[in-house]
Symmetry: D2
Subunit: 352 residues, 4 copies
């Protein structure tokens, strides 16, 4: 039996998503995002965010992040994000490419999170109008973070305050947006614009869709050029309604929150097991759907042999973590598709 | 009753595609194009092209074209294509953007087709090593063309000969590749590398998938950098297997050719009706799944009122076509989903 | 004796320019455009343009044009210029590259000039918000034009009116700005912002400097990002004061107008000779410092053998010009360094 | 009396350079780098480098670095350089922009230098073919470094060995190339290709020219596309011969080495003074023409008031340097124009 903790990307699609795609396969509809279904789902986003927002569908999280950066870009622009942010380390240079050469500046911070202090210090390295350094253009935070932690609402608000001080827009990479909302027991509105977030990469792919991401711009006027940015990056889908259809199902009956709540619960269950396992220990406390654990290499090997999929992870520069000679850091990701039985089977293998 | 001749993009997805997506929604699979299904579909491409090819899935035709150009790009590069080619007029500047500033040079020619003579003349405007003009980098033809005509195999071979003379690679924009194969009664191999084509944008979206396009590189060694080009353009899908699944169904039982043959037949049926209609005439003989007709404006208006969707079209510069004061040029596109009843209902309206 | 009509780029530098460079070689001065001399020359530009302008020194005309376009750029942007404009045909793709993929759209027109009608027609090909075409971003005219003609002040005003109607900024490629001012007997202010021009590539290199060009932005607020655009394109000079020094001399005692007036007079003298030459005829009436003539090939050959440098020229698509089988079109450029004796020696050779 | 230790960019031009410019202002010559003088200076470069090299003149060091990177670029490309390298911190994003989005990866190391170990470790962060990270494309070292130190020939050779192991080309940012050659008492050939360097940004501006830089490609075949790269970046000068003229004078009678030797000697003299000054101490031992010192803030203030120009400097992350509460790190740069009297006057002020 294969047990998947490798990635939430390894999961397929939730049955409700599949049904929606099948349903909307029939009939005709205007192309390139102009169908009634597209409009309807855009309105649904406005309801969820409790305000008028501009919504742009794309199909990969990297597209959502990179086009957000392209929208916020300034000549010689620098975006500030955590030194291990996905857009900085795992997108193959897409933000740099699609902005025509903007740069990320890695901000340090424990647990995958930047702080108002580390952020402020970093921004100050780029004095206003000092042409040789380039100019700050945006700040980006990841919620939940790359390493399974979650910014509190107050932390987001404090970072937004620092952004405002420097007149910089705040972007949220929400590849696991739903997991963070569920973890905080809050709402999309509270976690974003009510705390000062200006633009969100709203991810749904990892949480049950097969390819549905949206760029959500809080002030629609600022998204005026996004249709052209998206088109010229080849990310406008002709049969855009199939992305809309996924979101339609995703939001129905709160599927998005149910999926995320489930994935988080599975991660918590996994963490409980790991806390008491002989050959493993938690690297830090998980807050969403990713669990990081230190395993003895023999334990890791044994898990692999028994059909458990998971990835080794580079120890973050700022993690307060010491590994023994025969130990490694590993990531375990849960998803809407993870079953309690899988988690428990894993626990049995890991030796509890 | 709505009758769709607006675009093959307005059609949904073929039921077999929907079933394949549902089937592959279950279970887990490695992400980012590394699954067994991805591998299997790549092998299927090799069979269809009757040789080892490198295959890269993307989700929009504009991505396929633009990344092909990025692969072929040279500094100061110029690609030669028909003056009304899709990549030149309808992709919002994506080829220019994703190549970092390459240019298209419009080559003239009747019926949407360039000829060895007009191509050669255009290339000669860019003398080798004359840095002020930039340097030729590629030639791109569209098969079937933007206006529903089809290059014969000999014509493709002759254009490839001109390319070889100037040491330029030949790209084929195959947004409607299947329609051309069906129209010529030939094979993918015959229509491409056996006649000198080096790289193909292989489209399946318009012909029954919802988002499935592939860049097919005849000499795999030349595609070495494509994984990086695709990733940094944000066109690598995490759940790539869903594109693979669409192709899997698309190639099963020759669905791709059956769909295209049907669409072409519907276009021919439509053309027959138009030949004898009082308020309309064919602009030129259709060869694939697009019919262009000159309509009296009153006829066009009447059609719209009765629920027929179709688009007006700019008269191509080189078309041998004269319009009366009360006439317009219009495009009618058929697809896998077009029913004979629709065509005949249209004919009844148009006045035959 | 070599006679140079090949290009105003073949000339060296005016003695006054050389002296200024020598003078400012001594002593120290802050770098990167922050010296007192830089400031002083910027103020001189304001006097010449009779208003507060923002001035940015660069060293090539292609940089001035391309950075102007980068400043005016919008995503998917299209700039409208004459089909044979320098930025479109002779800058090796620099505008496309430095804008990250903007496109030029060639507007037709006789004598190297676009008209309000041809411009309006071209802009209308790009309907507002039609994402597939991209979006208009600017209009660029060349003054004097590539083929030695000059827009009248009224013509400039009329084009600016068309720009305003479409809310597009108007750029002037002034590689031969001084020649046009001299030809019209007008002022820099009259020829630009008083007629609706928003930004100018102000060239001085061809007219006696060795590398001095300036981007002049009429509304300084709109040039806010230019320092970053220039820096990241590597066009900010550390010893910027040497560009300033050239301009300083260029403007002293109206050297710039004297040089241009002289070059224009030499062109007129050349034209008078050609009007009466047996083996040659004027292609069209020259208005600045370029003369285009139709020569019998035997005449051209004879001129070359006798040490006259000049270039063949492609017959412009819209020129009302018919060449005989043994004839060719040729360009003759005069400059500040052209001597009346050279012109007359040429006339003797050409057969008057 | 103003004493300039602010920058070698604040110096003007050596009289011999000014004379050469005046000399070549006369007469005509083909434009865009095709003159006999251009050819002659290119041959001079071959002599100096003791092999056939390809040489491309540009006018700013940032252009030389950025175009070198553009030449070496690969999709998703990453260049490895010291974390405080000029191209990483002081070029306003030009390398990222002119490569269309390549990234620099900062390698740590004391004294402004990377080591084979830190370099190897950094490259290993980018596993071959791991598309999410991008791909290594080049290594760049600065000689002399940003902070006035010099790599030994053996150190360069060892770094080149690491490059070869990873099949990466080695670039040398030689903004202060001559100072390093003089400091090591070696030759251009020994310091570059004989130790494995593939391409050099050869700077002459700081060392006595006013704008003369060259990209020197050791294997001319690899420079094939550089003319197009340079043109489309707007860095091809029409009156290119004026750059050639500067180099011509720069190489005559070893002016380049004499200037550098002088500047280095002035720096050494300055260091000797600082070693014994009460309110100052050397931050590290200078090896070329830059001296870094720790000053009491009161001393720094006093120096400024007495007309000494110099810049504060950020303490490098890896410097083994502790500052007192009332101390700051400062940079003092000498040049061909620095006089011994200036240095001694400075010493008097600083309190020796």
């Amino acid at each position: 039996m294969a047990i998947n903790f490798a990635s939430d990307n390894w999961a397929g699609a939730h049955p409700a998503i599949g049904e929606a795609l099948a349903l909307h396969s029939r009939g005709i509809a205007p192309a390139y995002g102009t169908s009634e279904l597209d409009r309807q789902v855009e309105r649904r986003f406005c309801e969820i965010f409790e305000r008028e927002v501009a919504v742009f569908f794309v199909a990969t999280g990297t597209a959502a992040n990179s086009l957000s950066m392209a929208m916020l870009n300034r000549p010689g622009g620098v975006v500030f994000c955590h030194e291990n942010a996905h857009m900085r380390e795992d997108e193959g240079g897409a933000p740099e490419y699609l902005t025509g050469g903007a740069r990320t500046h890695g901000v340090r911070g424990v647990l995958g999170q930047i702080t108002p202090e580390t952020l402020d210090e970093a921004i100050r390295l780029f004095p206003a109008e000092f042409v040789h350094s380039g100019q700050p253009m945006a700040v980006s935070i990841t919620q939940s973070t790359e390493i399974g932690t979650v910014y509190s609402l107050d932390e987001i608000g404090a970072l937004a305050e620092t952004c405002r001080k420097h007149r910089l827009p705040l972007h949220m990479d929400g590849a696991r947006f739903a997991n963070a909302v569920a973890a905080l027991g809050t709402t999309a509105a509270e976690m974003t614009w009510k705390r000062g977030v200006d633009i969100v990469s709203f991810g749904a792919t990892k949480n049950g869709c097969w390819c549905a991401e949206a760029i959500v711009v809080m002030d629609p006027a600022k998204g005026r050029d996004m249709p052209f940015l998206r088109k010229r990056a080849a990310h406008l889908f002709s049969k855009s309604r199939f992305i809309a259809a996924q979101f339609d199902a995703y939001f129905s009956d709160d599927l998005w929150l149910r999926n995320a709540t489930h994935a988080n619960a599975m991660a918590a269950r996994l963490a409980t097991h790991l806390r008491h396992a002989p050959g493993a220990r938690l690297a830090w406390v998980p807050q969403a759907n990713e669990v990081f654990a230190v395993l003895k290499e023999s334990t890791a090997q044994s898990l692999r042999e028994k059909g458990v999929f998971f990835h080794p992870w580079k120890v973050p520069q700022d993690a307060e973590l010491t590994l023994g000679a025969d130990e490694g850091l590993y990531r375990f990701v849960t998803s809407f598709a993870t079953m309690a039985e899988e988690v428990d089977a894993f626990a049995a293998i890991v030796g509890t």
